[in-house]
């Protein structure tokens, strides 16, 4: 795999892959808008003083009764849908990145040691992985709600991580087992390198690439999960808007013809996730040793 890992080649492939460019653009745009949300949005949906029931259920600007103040309309609490979507990106991305960072680091460390040392450590951690994996993430999150009796971004991240680290641990372990057999690891041992050096200099950098693919895919999955949890009413609190919650609220208005409450956040969520997936797809192909492009 490493053979193909030429930097110039990656850039070349990237620039010649329209979907990768679109995907990363979507992702970067979402990240930027999330970071600069306070400067971008017409109305801060977190600012309780600004939101007012006065403007509730305003249709999008171009429709009858719409107002230029709320380009995509407002929800049932009078929150600007556009602003809420942009702030929703924040929640989505904080949860998404939070999950991949926490679960990723935890899983990679476990996988690295389980794969390298094997034995009891391996057996125990992999059985543990089985146990956590037999719950679905959504279920864990709901159970966590029962445990903490509160909602919050942090709890959502923890809940998703509980089952999610398993993916990283298994992938890392598999990758380590493969790399471990490579001759350069034996060569490093033959030159007298100790475990720490082998793990950090030789094993880790070579075993990590498959994690990048998982990372990208998992970012999308974590964002979807957060949306699902918020949709189920067990995600982030009501006062911290998230795309999933917007859809959950909006779904009650589908029959009332207020489509903008569902369609805009749905489109935003979809574009964010598909952006990440496009990028992940490209990364997968790029790092896949077996398939020639």
């Amino acid at each position: 795999m490493i053979e193909k890992f030429s930097k110039s080649k990656i850039i070349y492939h990237y620039l010649h892959d329209l979907s990768a460019i679109i995907g990363s653009l979507l992702l970067v745009l979402s990240i930027l808008s999330a970071i600069f949300a306070p400067m971008l949005v017409p109305q801060n949906p977190y600012d309780l003083e600004k939101v007012s029931l006065e403007h509730f259920l305003t249709p999008p600007a171009w429709m009858e009764g719409g107002s230029a103040q709320f380009p995509l309309g407002t929800d049932d609490q009078g929150r600007c849908v556009l602003s809420t979507i942009i702030y929703g990106f924040r929640t989505s991305l904080i949860v998404g990145f939070g999950v991949v960072i926490v679960a990723g680091i935890f899983g990679v460390i476990i996988g690295l040691f389980a794969g390298y040392y094997g034995g009891i450590l391996d057996a125990v951690s992999m059985r543990l992985a089985d146990i956590f994996f037999s719950f679905s993430t959504t279920l864990i999150a709901i159970l966590m709600l029962g445990l903490f009796k509160q909602r919050g971004v942090l709890i959502v991240i923890v809940a998703i991580c509980i089952a999610d680290w398993v993916k990283y641990a298994r992938t890392m372990r598999g990758s380590v087992l493969e790399v471990k057999e490579e001759a350069y690891i034996i060569a490093a041992k033959a030159t007298g390198a100790n475990d720490l050096r082998i793990l950090s200099k030789h094993l880790f950098p070579n075993a990590i690439p498959p994690i990048f693919v998982i990372l990208a895919v998992d970012l999308a999955v974590a964002i979807m999960l957060e949306a699902t949890l918020s949709f189920l009413g067990v995600g982030v609190p009501l006062t911290e808007p998230s795309l999933g919650m917007m859809i959950a609220i909006g779904k009650n208005y589908i029959y009332a013809g207020m489509w903008w409450l569902v369609l805009f956040p749905a489109a935003a969520l979809f574009l964010l996730v598909i952006g990440i997936n496009l990028f992940a797809d490209w990364l997968r192909e790029e790092l896949n040793p077996r398939i020639e492009r």
Binding site: K9, Y12, H13, E292, R293
Partner: protein, 330 residues
């Protein structure tokens, strides 16, 4: 020049691969022929185009990225390159069959060997399942597999490498092909097993009267069994001739260098140790070929003209041709 009754005649074949790095001229203007019952050796280093040549003959080049750009392949008065897939299939396996280098991977791991051999009889001989199965057992017997009735129900992974290659041979020869293309058939095997397989192939060749195209990088194997040899370098034929001529009077500097650089068993014991004659430099990448002779950068006898112009294949003796400016004029 050429005999009109060649069994197989490949003319000006060009097979290119279009990839990220550019166009790889894997086979670049190769012409060759084969007669009935003869054993032709195709020799060269990795990437010289010998396997691509062979695969082009039965059109197994993956498209994309590969493409046969030019040339004709005449077999029994038919240009194989002009056939559609349906017509071509009547030749594949039936009249021209092929065995591959890796006996480990060239058999389908999820079917029994009986299933895979009997398929040939059902397909080309239109036999029913039972007859095909019986014929498959006979085929296994022919390649000296012990207890074929038992082995036929086994899966490839249950067999050793040598046994698998025997199965491949049994499969390839099952429909009495006129040509058997063997692409590095023994490279992956141990020497004692290699001896068994070569011995078997030579026996079967006589029984079946098939022509064999033996593709290998092992000069020793070629020297022992081929009647004629074609030496390839960077997609081109550099020298062609009877085995004896090539090994005893090599003309092309590459052929010469190759023969001298191989450590020969017993040489040191007989003649005392000396350093091997080496060909300097590295095998060129197919993407970075020079304008002139591809061997020019490594050639100890290079002339100025070699840098600019590609030499033509010139006949210098009976069946002996060489592509080198030392032996031809502009």
């Amino acid at each position: 020049m050429t005999n009109d009754h060649h069994l197989l005649e490949v003319d000006h074949l060009k097979t290119y691969f279009y990839t990220f790095e550019g166009v790889a001229k894997a086979v670049d203007d190769v012409s060759l022929f084969m007669d009935e019952g003869e054993t032709l050796g195709l020799v060269g280093e990795s990437g010289c185009g010998k396997s691509v040549t062979a695969q082009s003959i039965i059109r197994l080049i993956p498209e994309p990225p590969g493409k046969i750009v030019q040339g004709t392949i005449n077999f029994d008065n038919t240009n194989l390159l002009e056939l559609d897939l349906k017509q071509l299939r009547k030749f594949r396996g039936n009249r021209i069959s092929m065995i591959f280098q890796e006996p480990m991977t060239s058999l389908n791991p999820v079917f029994t060997i009986g299933n895979q051999i009997s398929e040939m009889f059902m397909l080309h001989k239109k036999l029913n399942k039972k007859e095909s199965w019986e014929r498959a057992i006979e085929a296994l017997k022919a390649v000296q597999i012990p207890a074929p009735e038992k082995r036929i129900n086994e899966y490839p992974h249950q067999l050793s490498g040598g046994m698998r290659q025997r199965v491949m041979i049994a499969m390839a020869l099952s429909c009495d092909p006129e040509i058997l293309i063997a692409d590095e058939p023994t490279t992956a095997l141990d020497v004692t097993i290699q001896a068994q397989i070569i011995d078997l192939m030579m026996h079967l060749k006589e029984d079946f009267n098939a022509a064999i195209m033996l593709i290998t990088h092992d000069l020793g194997v070629i020297a022992e069994i081929a009647q004629r040899v074609i030496v390839m370098y960077a997609g081109k034929v550099v020298e062609e001739g009877k085995t004896k001529d090539i090994f005893e009077e090599p003309k092309h500097p590459y052929t010469k260098g190759l023969l001298q650089s191989v450590p020969k068993l017993g040489e040191r014991s007989r003649k005392e140790r000396k350093k091997l004659e080496e060909i300097k430099g590295i095998v060129p990448s197919l993407y970075e070929l020079t304008a002139g002779c591809s061997f020019f950068p490594r050639c100890p006898e290079a002339l100025p003209i070699c840098r600019e112009h590609i030499p033509k294949l010139t006949t210098i003796g009976e069946f002996h041709k060489v592509s080198c400016w030392l032996y031809s004029d502009l």
